[in-house]
Structures are given as structure tokens and as C-alpha cells.
Symmetry: C2
Subunit: 336 residues, 2 copies
Amino acid sequence: MNIWDGGRRRVYMQEVGTRDGFQSEGIFVETRDKIALIDMLSKTGMAKIEVTAFVSPQAIPALRDAEIVLREIERNPGVIYTALVPNVRGAERAIDAHADELNLVMSASESHNLSNLRMTRDQSFNALKQVAAIARDAGLPVNISLSCAFGCPMEGDVSASTVLEWAERFVEEIGSRGVTLCDTTGMAYPRQVAELTSQCVERWPQTELTLHFHNTRGMGLANVLAAIDAGANRFDASLGGIGGCPYAPGASGNVCSEEIVHALELMGYDTGVDLDALIAAARCLPPLIGHDTPSQIVKAGRRLDLHPLPADFAAVRERTMQGKLKPKPHYGMNIG
Amino acid sequence: MNIWDGGRRRVYMQEVGTRDGFQSEGIFVETRDKIALIDMLSKTGMAKIEVTAFVSPQAIPALRDAEIVLREIERNPGVIYTALVPNVRGAERAIDAHADELNLVMSASESHNLSNLRMTRDQSFNALKQVAAIARDAGLPVNISLSCAFGCPMEGDVSASTVLEWAERFVEEIGSRGVTLCDTTGMAYPRQVAELTSQCVERWPQTELTLHFHNTRGMGLANVLAAIDAGANRFDASLGGIGGCPYAPGASGNVCSEEIVHALELMGYDTGVDLDALIAAARCLPPLIGHDTPSQIVKAGRRLDLHPLPADFAAVRERTMQGKLKPKPHYGMNIG
């Protein structure tokens, strides 16, 4: 058994498209459409769905309907419905709307945290400690998403020891149930992923470790495989691969849920996901967001979605075998 | 040492953009532009360049200038200049134009070969045997590219034994120097790649084995890594990731040269390629072909191409640390 052969190993998929994807769309997806889409996703076998974010409606108008969406979706008891919360106010709103988990967020990079959140990392940590206390009082688990865990677009490399130090504070001081290492701008590469993942798995075997990759530089699936090889079994991904990167206009966003599931299932991993249902959900996205998605699976279909033989195939074969047809290397299809 | 850590292992890159890419472009790239581009590529460290194809100018007008291009490029003695030839006529033209190698082509799938070339596989083999004899007389090595080695868009799976049988005939009956396993329509997946590659490496350790992947379903880099893990060290790739798939309009084409080199070099492999020079060449493509390429590296830059801090960063940090600035989780950049 090697990494290329899943041998039915279980991998848990977590959908983030309605949060990480929709937050960066230019248009507001109607509340009823969001709810209908999440209801579809709830039936696909996703282990967790990041439904929305409880942030300022002025800051991210695309998610201004967070309460209604989280309240009105149909809950599947097999799915954890999580929501991103940046602060105490967000936590209160998410708890009111019956989130199953609060996903806290700060950056492993000081420059990114300061630029993005206008807090030092220490200030963020202290604020999130309060948020975690509120969650604890409400009986809810928290997860910490560490942005820029594989590099910062301004600072460059972020050392593994820095990432581990912040993860440790959340796991050991706050008792976070889970830690997500976020490759916010697509800087992770497989060797680095394997190293950092091994260290996390070794130090906190009881902590739910999630890897959150963006495919910005085409390394998404390879990073997922490197993480699995190092012991991870839980991945964020976004339907249609939506969710961009402000540093790379036109580049891909989050790793695409249906591409990752398609590849892992072919390799023999057990994602628990119904790929047909997932692709059906992905096909609903373009009318909602007003453009095509980067999903290669939506464009190309699954590996064994076959194409019909040419209409004249039988005649061509017959005449070819009788030597009556001149070879015609027209390469109308593809020669490489 | 594992697959994620290259440990300076040598991997040979072979550029196919001016053949597999340009053949599927709607417009004719000017001859002088082709020559200038290949001259740039010759200085990047590519081990081999598939310059063009000697096919009927009526069939593929995009490559109707094959002779002039192959004759007029500046040869770098460290690079093998190969050309695709489908038949005796093509071989004669390629030899006249001083190709270093002839790249023969047929499909491992009977349906694909019949539909595309209007020959049975046996007929193709016999015709290519003649081509190989001409190459031998001219003192030139041949390579055989087996299309659909990982699946046929009409038949579905193509068994490993079928692929090995055809490879064997070329290696053992014809004495082909190299065999290229082509994933013509992006059906290869890593487990399959690892298995088929191991078998080829084991049976023909002296044969130059190339893997030619398309990224149609997002598995390109993962397939490259699976092949390396199984003993391969030679890959076709296309500048900018150009080269489409007629079965998947809008989907990616060949794996992208600069994405593969970028990832492998980060992981510690030695591709021998100057990534800066390669990216510079990739940036020349859009004006030649009239559209952007799928290259994520051209869009996003290399992993450590950093971005400046915001103009007000120093002031924000100062005031934040003095507690004078209200936290502002506006997430203008990215929170995931």
C-alpha cells in the first residue's frame, strides 16, 4: 500500500464554497438559492459544511444573510454545520442561529494579520480566547483556522515553528477541537505540506486537523496527497473551485471539491461523497454567481463519462479492414 | 527520502507546446514568431523540444511551416529537437529538415486509432515499421507515442496489458529508443500511472520512457509525481499549459511546463530548467495565440514573488500596538 493506492482509507471532505467562495463573488447570491444549494450539499456526504461567516454586513455584503441561511437550511444529522466568526459579536450571532461549531480565524503571519485584521497576532489571540469562552458556555466546539500557514504573500515563508506555536496555543490554552492550516494564497508545496502535517499529527493526535488548500499555483491535489501521506484525513474544498485570490486575478481559488473527490475515489480512497450528487450541485453554481467555475470536472466530466463513436465508425472500420479506405491522419481529435 | 522530497533527483523536461499546443490553436502563429519562441525555449534547459509535426498542411494548417521552423531554429547542442511524423512522407520531410529524432504516433485504443487515423492498430504498426526503417537508414532514433495509454474517450479503460503489448512491439521489434505513454484526453489517475509506469520501467530499463499528461481533470501534477515515484524521470509538458482537448471545451490542455517545473523545483527535484527564462517564454504566448493561457504561474507568479505591504502598514502597526485603532476585520484580502 502506498499513497497512490487509497485502500479504502477514509478521508473527510468539508465544503467551504458557500463561505470562502461566495465571500469573494461580486454579486449577492439570493438567500433562497444559498439555502437550496446547501440543502443539496447536505445530501452529498460532506462531513462538514462551512455555511457562512458572521462578519460585518458592511464588510462582506455577500454574506449579510448569515443568520437566515444558517437557521433555514435543512440539517442532516450526519453533517457538522460550522460558521466562521471573527469576534464576540459574530460568535453571539452564530450561536443564536444554531451553528454546530465556531470557526475562529487569525493569521500565522504578523504582517497579514495586521493588514487584514488590524490586530497583532497577540491581540487576535486574546480576542479569540474570549470568543472561545463564549462558545464553551454555549456548549459548542471551536476550530481555529490559521491563515498563511504555508507562507505569507508579504513576508514570504512562515516558519513551521511559528505555525506550530500558534496551533499549540489554541489546542493547549483554549482547547480547540480542531486546527485548520490554511494555504490562504496558494503558497504551499508538497514537501512543506508533508513536513508540517507530520508534525501536527504527531503532536496533537487527538485534534481534528484540517488542511485548507488553494489551487493558485496548480499544486492543490498534490498537496492533498502529501498531507494524506503524512497522516491527515480531513480537507476543505470548494464546490466548483470557487473562491479567488486577490493577489492573483484570474487564478484558481480553493481546491475544487468535485476534482478532489473524483481523484481520491479513483485512487481508492473512501471520501463518503456521492460524486454524482456533488457534480449536480456544482452545475447549479454558474447561474448563481454569473460566471463559469474553474471546475475541470464540470467541463470535462468524470474520467469514464464516455463519448459516442463517430456516426460513420462502423463503415470506416469495415472499409479500413478491407483496405478500401486511404489512411487519413487528419487528427481531428487529438494526437498527443 | 520520499516522493515529496526530490533530494536533487534529476527529472528531464520535454517541451511540446509548439507542436501539441499550436496544433489546436485556431490561428496560425507566424513562422518567425515560432522560431523566436523555440529559440527562447532552447535556452531554458529543456532536454527535448518537440518542434513541430510533419503532417499534411491541409490537415493541420497551423503547422504548415514545419520545414522552415525546424531548419531555421538555432540549435542548442544540449537539446534534442524532435518532430512528430505520422507516415513515410512526414519522415522524409523531417529528415530533410534535420530532425534529431522522429516521434511516431499511434493509439493504444483500436476505436481511437480507427476514428483518428483510419487505420487499425495493426495497419498503423506496419506503416510505422516502414517509417522506423527510413529513420534507421538516416541514422536517426525514433520514439513511439502511444495515445490513449490511460484510457480512450470512446472505449473507456485501456488495459495495461494492451499498452504493454504495443510498447513491446515498438521496443523489441522496431528498436524504438523511447516510448511515450500519452494521456491524450486526461483520463490518467495516479494509482494507474504508478502501476503502468512501474511495469514499463521494470521491463525496459534501457528504454527512454516519457509520460505525457493532460491536466483535463486536474490530476496532471499528481500524475507526474506518481510516475516519478514509480521510476520515471522524463515528462512532456506544454508552455502555458496550451493544447486543448476536443472532448472538453474549456478544460486545460497539456500539463503546464512552468507549473510542473515550479512545483518540482520547490520539492527539491533537479529539472535543469531555468524557471525565470521559462516564465519569460510563457509570457510571450498570449499575443501569439490571441488569448490567455491556463498557466497558473503566469497569473499568480512564483510562490515567493511577494507583494508589497499596504502603503499605510507602518501607521496601522504603530496605532494598533498603541491600542488606538479599532480592529477591522474587513477581510479585504483573504480570510481562508
